[in-house]
Each structure stands twice: as structure tokens, then as C-alpha cells.
């Protein structure tokens, strides 16, 4: 799936997001719902779809001058897939760029406080547990990006 740009950009909030499902994860539906929800909330969204590599997220964020990268993972391997993402962003000149992750990001049922702590240590600004409604992510995106 190719990146599609928001048609509502003109009346949007001017903030650009790059979103996608990381790793060998083919869950295609959720990311479309997120794309729609973020766009409705006024963001300019580039949706990279499924099976997105770290390098693709970074390349897309560079070219689109994104304000945030939102990574989704639903198949339990998110921790492996996300390792080193922040370091690579630093290398690519995207240091300080807002970075979110959410979904079933780890294997099995784990205490989310631990999971969140581990992802914070990996450089993620916000970590969302399974079942987070899009509105919550939108709330934090607006807060962190200083929108309305």
C-alpha cells in the first residue's frame, strides 16, 4: 500500500504523522482505522501500511518532514522490531522527533507498567496498551505537538 496524503490538509492542524505496522506484521485493518481517525482529527497522515521496516518509517519521516512517527504492532514481536529505532532516528537527523508505539507490542500477558518502562527506555515518548481507543492517542498527539 502506498502512502496516501490527507485531502483535508488545508483545513487541518498542519501537523504531519507517519504511521504504519512495523515488522513482519500483516494486520491491515487497524492501521486504516487509525489513519481515518487521525485524519478526521485534522492531521496530515502518511500511512505506510503493513510490514514496515524502521528504515521506511525514517525515510518517510524525512521526506515528509513529519512531526511524529506512530508505530503499531499487533503480533507480539514489537519489542524486537522496535529495538534501535530511536538510535537510527538520531543517526538520520530525526533526533527529538516524537515517537509513539501501541498495540499488542509484547509477547503474552505482561504487566503493562513494565512494558511501558522498557519502551520508554528504548526512546519511545508514549506507549499505548492493547485496546487504546484512537481518541486517547489523538489527545496525546495534540498535547505533545501543541495543537489547540
Amino acid at each position: 500500500m502506498r502512502g496516501r496524503r490527507s485531502e483535508k490538509m488545508e483545513q487541518g492542524n498542519g501537523k504531519k504523522l507517519v504511521i504504519g505496522v512495523i515488522g513482519a506484521d500483516v494486520h491491515a485493518v487497524g492501521i486504516r482505522i487509525l489513519e481515518y481517525a487521525f485524519r478526521e482529527a485534522g492531521f496530515d497522515v502518511t500511512n505506510l501500511g503493513v510490514m514496515v521496516s524502521q528504515e521506511e518509517f525514517i525515510g518517510a519521516a524525512l521526506e515528509t518532514a513529519a512531526d511524529a512517527i506512530v508505530i503499531s504492532s499487533l503480533y507480539g514481536h514489537g519489542e524486537l522490531d522496535c529495538r534501535g529505532m530511536r538510535d537510527k532516528m538520531d543517526e538520520a537527523g530525526l533526533d527529538g522527533l516524537l515517537l509513539y508505539v501501541g498495540g499488542n507490542i509484547v509477547v503474552g500477558k505482561q504487566d503493562f507498567v513494565d512494558v511501558e518502562k522498557r519502551f520508554h527506555e528504548m526512546g519511545f515518548d508514549r506507549v499505548f496498551p492493547p485496546g487504546t481507543p484512537p481518541e486517547e492517542t489523538i489527545y496525546y498527539l495534540k498535547k505533545d505537538l501543541g495543537v489547540d
Binding site: 502506498r2 507517519v18 506484521d25 496530515d44 501500511g49 521526506e63
Partner: protein
């Protein structure tokens, strides 16, 4: 009687082709050395004299030309991310028939600027950022180019939000603005840039290359030779309203210095469990391998396939191969005297290697990925496995003793199962070097050009997966 004259100003030879537009036949061809250092018209007149000996005195309704003389159309391109805007810019320039002398990614450095100043391009294509995306790359690069002491035409085809600042910075360069080559992520839009390159080639480059002296001889059309060949290939594949084409195809031109590969094919994935990644690729795609060629780029072939590969396929000992490699680096004009002499066998292996490498670089690739939904393939580039026709042009192939054995190296093989090359194909050969001339003719007479191409290309036979040597 209606005749057309088609001229190809090559780096070494100026080739002329006379076409009878009524009987739709080539009535004569001739060539002479290109005389670009003095007056390019001198060599052309010699060629025309030779042509007249074949055709007699005939009046031409129009005279059109393509040119790769004096280094061809030399371009530099810049983009931001290597796999994204820089790649889009590269595809745009190559498809327009250019030779890319430098490709820059991210911001230009002082060393880059020194390199540009030392050998300025005919055209500089500047890209970077999606529309509304990154501005810094283009804006900073424009500021930097401004400081140069040389001037050249610049095409701005990046983030539209960066264009104003770039135009201001580059006010004393001839600047043209085109739509972004990658308006949004992964989407390729290179045709407007290619049309602009062609216009600039006519307006600026023709004068700079001493070709303007031929203006009184030519009627109008002048295009870079590779762009004429690509246009002929596209015509052959697609056909016209009146005349059917032959369908998707691959074209290969193994030259002395470079190897060009053309495909006119969609290359979309065929299986359900394939996911496409990376930039869209153009339907009519041209790639140029600057390190793969029969004389100036022997080392590139050998270093990629290995000397033992060459020795195995030529039947020569490793020592003999080494001798030829060093001899050819000293004397580029060496050619085989007979079909079975050692150099001919060495050339056979070299051409096989060139075809093998250049097609593998051109074709798309698959990668396996194990997912929770089973095995998935990730495709980058074009899937050419169902392309059924391969056209060969260029001297190394025309003079080859066993051309089908060379052609087999363009096919899919179990050794590289992830390289998406054609599984079987009919091989056609451009024996009389008519493709560039027909690409030029097609600008005015599409149907005639197509019918001549279809008649002139010589079918050599079919090759398929499995009879790989």
C-alpha cells in the same frame, strides 16, 4: 515520393538512415566518424555522401536527429533520501536519456560543490521532500549552488513549498519549475520532468554541444539517443491506434562503456501473498550500468561475476583471461578477428556477464518474510517474470556467434530465485541499428516507424528457464 532522413550523432559514429515513407522501407544507411571537436556537420556530410551512393539523389521531406555525441546529455541529480526522492530523480533523468555524472543525497557538501564546479552538468535536477514535507534540503542546496562561479540550467522538481525560496536563491541561473517527482510518499511523477529535460536539451544543450551548426540541416526534432531508443521500445510494446504492438518487453544494449536495460512492463505482483514496498517504478523504465561494458568497463564485469566465471564460460585459462583483461584496458579498440578466436570467446563471456548483472540490477526482487499469517513475499521493483520478449541492440550482441547463449543470462534462474527476470522469451535482434532512428521517426510517423521496427527486428529463437548454461 516521400523520404525522411534520420540521423544518430553517436559518440564515435554518425549514422544516417533514409526511409521511404510510402513503401515504408529503409532505403539506405551509412555512417562516418563523428566530428564533434571541429564541426559536427563535417562528419554528417561524409555520412550523407556515402548514403547518396546507395540511394542516389533524393529529396527529404524532413530530417530529424538524436544525439549522444560529446558525452551525451550529462546530468547531475540531487534528492533527500537515497531510496526515495533521489531515486525518483535518478529514474526521471535516466528515462529522459541522460547520463548521470553525479547523484547527491541530503545536503550538498563543500566537496560536492567543488566537484560540480570542476565538471558542470548540462542540466541539474534538484528534488527533495514530498509536497508540504521537507524544505530544508532543497532550500539549503539552492543557497549552496548560488555560490558557484559556473551557471547551468536547473530543474526544480521537489517539495512545492520550497520552490519560492529556491527560485529566489537561484535567480541568475536558468531555472524551470516542474511538479514534484515524488508528490507524496512512494508516488512517482516523473513525466513532467522528462518533458522539461527534453525541452532544455533542445534549447541549451544543442548549442553547447556544437550541434547548432546542424540546424540548417535538421528540420526540428533532436533528442538524446537513449530517449529515442526508449521511445521506440515503448512504441513497439504498446502499438498505435492502427497498428498493434507486441506487448511487454525488455531491451538490452551492451555497449563499450555502459550497459543499458529497458523494460516496458507494469511489473505488478502476480501472487496474492506479495506486498509491494519502495517507490513506484515507471512503466517505461531505463537503467544504465556505468561499470558494466565490453571495453571501458571490463573490470566492473569481472569484479562482479568473478574471473573464474569468465574463464569457465569462455573456455580460456585463468591466465589467458587475465591477459585479455589487461590488454583491453590498454587498447579499447581491440576486436576479434574471427568468430572462434580466443578474444571472441572472451567477449562472449564478457557479454554474458554484462547481461547477467545489468538485468539483475534492473529487475525487481522478492524477499521472504514469515508472518503470523504464513509466508509473505515482499516485492521491491518490477516483477518481470511474465515478460516474454527480449530485444537486443548494440554491437557486442550483433556480432556475437552464439547470441542466444548470451541472451539466456537475462532470464530468471534457480540460482537467483528472488530476482524477478523473465522466465522465457523470444529473442529479437536489432541487426541494422534501426531502433534509435525509428524512435526519432515516431515523433512524426508513429505507424510507419512501428511497422518498420516490427519488420526489421530479427527473431533469433526462444529461450526458457532450465536451458540455462
Amino acid at each position: 515520393m516521400r523520404y525522411a532522413l534520420l540521423i544518430d550523432f553517436g559518440s564515435t559514429f554518425t549514422k544516417v538512415t533514409a526511409v521511404d515513407l510510402i513503401s515504408e522501407e529503409i532505403v539506405g544507411t551509412a555512417s562516418a566518424f563523428t566530428t564533434v571537436d571541429s564541426d559536427i556537420g563535417t562528419g554528417l556530410n561524409v555520412a550523407l555522401d556515402r548514403l547518396r551512393r546507395v540511394t542516389g539523389d533524393i529529396a527529404f521531406e524532413f530530417k530529424s536527429a538524436c544525439s549522444s555525441a560529446a558525452g551525451g546529455l550529462r546530468m547531475m541529480v540531487s534528492g533527500l533520501v537515497p531510496e526515495l526522492t533521489a531515486e525518483a530523480a535518478r529514474l526521471a533523468a535516466l528515462g529522459a536519456g541522460a547520463r548521470i555524472t553525479r547523484l547527491f543525497t541530503h545536503e550538498l557538501t563543500r566537496r560536492d560543490l567543488i566537484a560540480i564546479e570542476a565538471d558542470p552538468p548540462d542540466i541539474f535536477l534538484m528534488t527533495g521532500g514530498t509536497d508540504g514535507g521537507n524544505r530544508a534540503c532543497m532550500e539549503k542546496n539552492a543557497e549552496k549552488l548560488r555560490s558557484l562561479s559556473v551557471r547551468f540550467p536547473i530543474i526544480l522538481a521537489g517539495n512545492r513549498q520550497a520552490i519560492d525560496a529556491c527560485e529566489d536563491a537561484l535567480a541568475d541561473f536558468p531555472v524551470t519549475v516542474c511538479p514534484n517527482v515524488m508528490p507524496s510518499f512512494g508516488v512517482l511523477n516523473i513525466e513532467p520532468v522528462q518533458r522539461e529535460i527534453r525541452d532544455l536539451f533542445l534549447k541549451h544543450i544543442v548549442n553547447a554541444r556544437g550541434l547548432s551548426k546542424t540546424k540548417e540541416i535538421l528540420s526540428d526534432i533532436l533528442m538524446p539517443t537513449p530517449s529515442a531508443i526508449l521511445s521506440a521500445m515503448k512504441l513497439l510494446a504498446d502499438g498505435t491506434e492502427k497498428e498493434t504492438g507486441i506487448g511487454e518487453l525488455m531491451g538490452i544494449d551492451v555497449g563499450g562503456a555502459t550497459t543499458d536495460v529497458y523494460t516496458i512492463a507494469r511489473g505488478e505482483p502476480v501472487d496474492m501473498n506479495v506486498i509491494c514496498k519502495g517507490l513506484d517504478e515507471p512503466y517505461a523504465k531505463r537503467t544504465v550500468e556505468g561499470d558494466i561494458g565490453m571495453r571501458y568497463s571490463v573490470a566492473g564485469i569481472v569484479s562482479e561475476v568473478g574471473q573464474s566465471w569468465i574463464s569457465e564460460r569462455s573456455g580460456l585459462t585463468a591466465d589467458d583471461c587475465a591477459t585479455y583483461i589487461s590488454e583491453l584496458s590498454d587498447d579499447k579498440s581491440k576486436v576479434p578477428l574471427t568468430h572462434d578466436d580466443a578474444l571472441a570467446r572472451f567477449d562472449h563471456a564478457l557479454a554474458s556477464g554484462a547481461v547477467e548483472i545489468a538485468t539483475r540490477r534492473h529487475a525487481g526482487v522478492l524477499e521472504e518474510a514469515f508472518t503470523t499469517s504464513g509466508l509473505i513475499y515482499v516485492q521491491t521493483g518490477k516483477d518481470l517474470r511474465s515478460v516474454r520478449q527480449i530485444i537486443f541492440t548494440g554491437g557486442s550482441f550483433i556480432h556475437a556467434q552464439s547470441p542466444l547463449d548470451i541472451a539466456r543470462h537475462a532470464l530468471y534462474t534457480e540460482r537467483y530465485p528472488m530476482s524477478l527476470r523473465p522466465k522465457q522469451a523470444t529473442v529479437l535482434r536489432d541487426d541494422r541499428y534501426i531502433l534509435s532512428a525509428m524512435g526519432v521517426l515516431a515523433e512524426r510517423e508513429k505507424d510507419i516507424a512501428l511497422r518498420i521496427i516490427k519488420r526489421e527486428l530479427v527473431p533469433l529463437g526462444d529461450i526458457s528457464l532450465g536451458d540455462d548454461s
